[in-house]
């Protein structure tokens, strides 16, 4: 569907749209569809879903708002955007929650039908903001989306009024598609596929009709004086797909399975925001992926150890509370020196905390959260696409060093999407695996002198029968040993082995001058905000440098040098300073923490401000 005549068109490099409504009304879908259409169109993009812990929180309440923010651009971008250009607000609560994010003179498309007296009360509005002056700073477009959708669907007589009304998210999406010149085809295909289920087919045509009607309505009514064009971004040439962090991990693990020749085994227990990893992997039975939904996280950790002992590429995933439960058994994997990967898609804590919100506060737990001296490698993902690389790397290191590895992702990365440049499968490094088979001189804990890895000897191999467990083992033979000196030796072996992983870490890239006044150091999901802040500061004439580390344990060998070349090091973290604790301790450098504990990522503005305060 293309419409020929056009009102004035303005070109924009960068737009942030936010869709907001009650949870369960399809706002996540509208946002996601807008993102996909923009991706296919060739924009760079970044998304930020944001939803409550309840499945369908009470309609009209502030706590029940589900929103989806999409930023799309004709340039290379790294965050879902600090300021919203276009807000689609379906009711007062949606407006109230999102308004602080909307930039002055931004567009607000409101559904007037949602502004009932009851909804105003639920959103704690004394007066209707559509009637007073409170929205004067914005371009407000008031539309009765319910009425419009219903009348657009009046020919579908088998739909109840309520069912018809539910398509209003598509009507709104159609309007926004018009505003930004997005083609409808992709979403029409998606609707056709999505409702193609027993009893749901009747929703296909109405939803398509609502989408088209919205588009036509925007066109016909001349509601918006201008429409906007955001050209494709000059991304690196290649084939792309949109990916979120959880899918990135899944892809990386499957790639590691194929590249190592090891079948992938996954044991997990559902938990927000990590469940998607279990869900997606369960769809890859045709890639010989075996998934088991266990009775709890402890069982999942146990099963992962069992499968690793048997020679699978063995993986489990969870979020903070679930990882806490895994630690006792994970310590066994450390003692047994078995390769496996534990993914933690972090969320807000402590306890159940803010289960659908993001945080980086499980770093302490990852590095220090077990009893005894229980070292293991820890690495963090920094973008949805980076999740692929990190998962692949984690599997490689686990196998090469015969060690469990923790991968830290977070809710923001896990759910957020960005275009992912699909790698050439052939160009990915092979992951060499050597199962031990030589009977002569076999000892279960005789180490490779280079990596300190012990041999991986699988049950089923004649002549290598051996027993391993959680009691301290004699260096070499692996038999139970209570010998004092041996324990000290083994403790150091385990620590040294992890320390040697540092040899795998490429030089840390410093963007900006190699030395100077300020270095912004980051890890994990703060990548985009830090990069955007640094680029803006540079554009404003300041000299700041930035570096982002993937490895949290061991730390990169060049890090000390880098930190010491700067007068100030600022470390933004979505916690109270956890990485900072380790860096200060290790290098005795006065790293300064920038902390945020609001269940959402840093805006680049927040980081920019913090740097300016240092300059």
């Amino acid at each position: 569907m293309t419409i020929a005549t056009r009102k004035p068109v303005e070109e924009r490099t960068d737009v942030v749209i936010r869709f907001a409504d009650d949870s369960g009304t399809g706002m996540q879908v509208s946002g996601d569809q807008f993102a996909s259409a923009s991706a296919l169109f060739g924009n760079d993009l970044s998304t930020l879903p944001d939803f409550p812990a309840e499945i369908r929180a009470p309609a009209g309440t502030l706590a029940g708002i589900s929103s989806f923010q999409v930023r799309f651009s004709s340039e290379d971008i790294h965050t879902p955007g600090d300021d919203v250009d276009v807000l689609v607000a379906m009711n007062p609560a949606a407006l109230k929650v999102s308004l602080p994010l909307v930039r002055a003179n931004g567009i607000i498309l409101v559904n007037t039908a949602g502004f009932s007296a009851k909804n105003l009360r639920l959103a704690d509005y004394d007066t209707n903001p559509l009637d007073d002056s409170s929205l004067d700073r914005y371009q407000v477009f008031k539309v009765d989306l319910v009425e419009l959708t219903k009348s657009a669907l009046k020919e579908f007589t088998d739909l109840s009024a309520r069912e018809a009304e539910r398509a209003k998210n598509m009507f709104a999406l159609g309007m926004v598609f018009w505003l930004f010149h997005r083609p409808l085809e992709h979403t029409i295909e998606w609707i056709s596929a999505y409702f193609n289920r027993p009893g749901r087919e009747k929703f296909i045509e109405p939803n398509i009709a609502a989408l088209k009607s919205g588009y036509v309505y925007a066109e016909a009514t001349e509601l918006f004086a201008t429409s906007y064009e955001v050209k494709p971004a000059p991304l690196r040439p290649g084939t792309y797909r949109n990916i979120n962090g959880n899918s990135g991990l899944v892809m990386g693990l499957i790639a590691a399975s194929k590249k190592s020749g090891l079948p992938l085994f996954f044991a997990g227990y559902p938990i927000t925001p990590a469940s998607q990893i279990l869900h997606e992997l369960s769809q890859y039975r045709h890639c010989r992926v075996r998934t088991v939904q266990c009775e709890d996280e402890i069982a999942a950790m146990g099963a992962t150890i069992g499968a690793a002992y048997g020679g699978s590429l063995s993986v489990t995933a969870s979020s903070g509370p679930g990882i806490a439960l895994k630690q006792e058994a994970l310590s066994l994997a450390i003692s047994m020196e078995l390769p496996l990967v534990v993914c933690n898609v972090q969320r807000g804590g402590p306890s159940t905390g803010l289960p659908t919100k993001t945080e980086q506060s499980d770093l302490f737990q990852a590095i220090c959260g077990r009893h005894g001296e229980s070292p293991l490698p820890v690495l963090a993902t920094s973008r949805p696409g980076d999740c692929f690389d990190v998962a692949f790397m984690a599997a490689r290191i686990a196998i090469k060093y015969m060690t469990p590895v923790i991968v830290l992702s977070d809710g923001y990365l896990g759910n957020g999407t960005e275009p992912w440049r699909i790698p050439e499968a052939d160009e990915l490094d092979a992951i060499p695996v050597k199962f031990h088979t030589e009977v002569e001189g076999f000892e279960a804990f005789r180490r490779d002198p280079e990596t300190l890895a012990r041999p991986w000897a699988l049950p089923g191999t004649p002549g290598l029968e051996h027993r391993v467990g959680g009691l301290e083992k004699a260096d070499g033979s692996g038999n139970v040993s209570y010998d004092p000196i041996n324990h000290e030796v083994m403790t150091h072996h385990r620590a040294d082995k992890v320390a040697r992983v540092a040899t795998e870490i490429p030089p840390t890239e410093v963007h900006g001058p190699d030395e100077g006044d300020v270095l912004i150091l980051g890890w994990g999901g703060t990548y985009g905000s830090i990069r955007a802040a640094a680029e803006r500061l540079s554009a404003a004439g300041h000299t700041v440098s930035r570096a982002h580390i993937r490895w949290l344990n061991p730390l990169p060998s060049d890090l000390e040098d880098i930190l010491k070349r700067f007068k100030r090091v600022l470390l933004p973290e979505l916690n109270l300073g956890q990485l900072s604790t380790f860096l200060r301790s290790r290098y005795l450098v006065d790293v300064q923490s920038l902390n945020k504990m609001q269940g959402k990522p840093f805006t680049s503005g927040e980081i920019e401000d913090a740097v300016r305060n240092l300059l």
Binding site: G42, R285, G302, Y309, I422, F435, P462
Partner: protein, 353 residues
């Protein structure tokens, strides 16, 4: 098989002997502990079953009994407290070719590990579970366990325990365990037979073994093994046979509605034909549950033998089938194909703008 494990040695190997299953580790149980007898019997029985040592994996939790794997010259994992069934599930689900055994204690299996035991039973993973029940915590030096009778005086219950014990067999039945049996460390022939039966069964096999902890709970099962009393205190179960016991096979068990009763076969009131006939193939587990309940009833003999043996599909078999079906139906994609599933788009060498 999922993993390309190295193939077994090609030449026909000589039959294995007990010694082939003895590891080089010194056995570290208290002299006189019932664990010794069970270990020896396992080492004797495996060659009779005819398994290859390198295909066998013993997985245990923590406890005296859980030291078992160290002494078997097979593969083995001495894991963490209570979690052996979870490890076994992961191993067996990924390596159905292996012969997987779990060794656990009454505390390991029923206190900290109770949930994993339930879940492995309901999934019916093909694992043989040997539950060494000594009605006490041995390794931690004598606290009461979930199978200790009410009133057990132990370090943690100096005036006697107050919680009612579990009946491990009933728990397993409730979780629909497809094989349930009981043996005792003092009747080795029978124990060996039970080990063979458990092994022969496909699916989760729970074998409870009464085991004497001579240090902290000496003689807990003495009435069941002492010459003087045992024939009146034990009933051996035989599939399809009436339930008879007693020194002179003078007593039997009959059903009175849903209540089992011990009856005399000598006073003329009842004969063999009136007795309950054992049926291992007990789909709904009702008979099994009644048999398991004997121990809660006064003057009833303790059943030893196979309580239940029913066919149920194994978890890992279905899982394998699902994988095979999916590969068959959907084909195994190349990595590149996988990467490119779903909506993709091309960014050309020189983008438009």
């Amino acid at each position: 098989m999922a993993i390309d494990a190295p193939p077994a040695a090609a030449e026909a190997a000589p039959p294995l002997t007990r010694a082939d299953f003895e590891s080089d580790q010194i056995v570290r149980w208290c002299p006189g502990c019932g664990d010794y007898a069970i270990l020896a019997q396992m080492q004797r029985t495996l060659p009779e079953i005819g398994v290859a040592a390198h295909n066998v994996v013993f997985i245990s939790g923590i406890g005296c009994s859980s030291r078992f794997p160290y002494y078997m010259d097979t593969y083995g994992i001495h894991s963490v407290h209570g979690r052996a069934p979870a490890l076994a599930t992961g191993l067996k689900a990924s390596r159905p070719d292996l012969d997987v055994w779990v060794v656990t204690g009454d505390g390991d299996a029923l206190s900290i590990g109770g949930n994993h035991l339930l879940h492995i039973c309901r999934r019916n993973v093909d694992v043989n579970i040997l539950l060494f029940n000594n009605q006490i915590y041995g390794l931690t030096k004598g606290q009461y366990s979930p199978t200790s009778p009410i009133g057990t005086k132990s370090y943690s219950t100096p005036t006697g325990s107050i919680d009612a014990p579990f009946n491990p067999l009933r728990i397993a039945i409730a979780a629909n365990a497809s094989f349930i049996a009981r043996a005792i460390d003092r009747d080795l022939k029978h124990l060996s037979e039970m080990i063979k039966r458990a092994h022969a069964h496909r699916g989760t096999a729970l074998l409870e073994i009464y085991q004497d902890c001579i240090v902290f709970n000496k003689g807990a099962f003495a009435p069941l093994s002492d010459k003087a009393s045992k024939e009146d205190r034990v009933i051996y179960l035989h599939h399809g046979e009436p339930m008879i016991f007693g020194k002179t096979r003078d007593k039997g068990i009959r059903l009175d509605g849903l209540q089992p009763r011990v009856v005399s076969l000598t006073d003329g009131a009842y004969g063999t034909a009136d007795l309950l006939v054992h049926d291992e193939d007990d789909e709904h587990g009702t008979l099994a549950d009644i048999i398991a309940s004997f121990q809660e009833r006064e003057d009833f003999p303790r059943p030893l033998g196979v309580v239940r043996d029913v066919e149920r599909v194994c978890y890992e078999d279905v899982l394998e089938q699902r994988v095979a079906d999916a590969v068959e139906e959907r084909g195994e994609p190349s990595l590149q194909e996988l990467f490119e599933t779903g909506d993709t788009w091309e960014v050309p060498e020189h983008p438009a703008s």
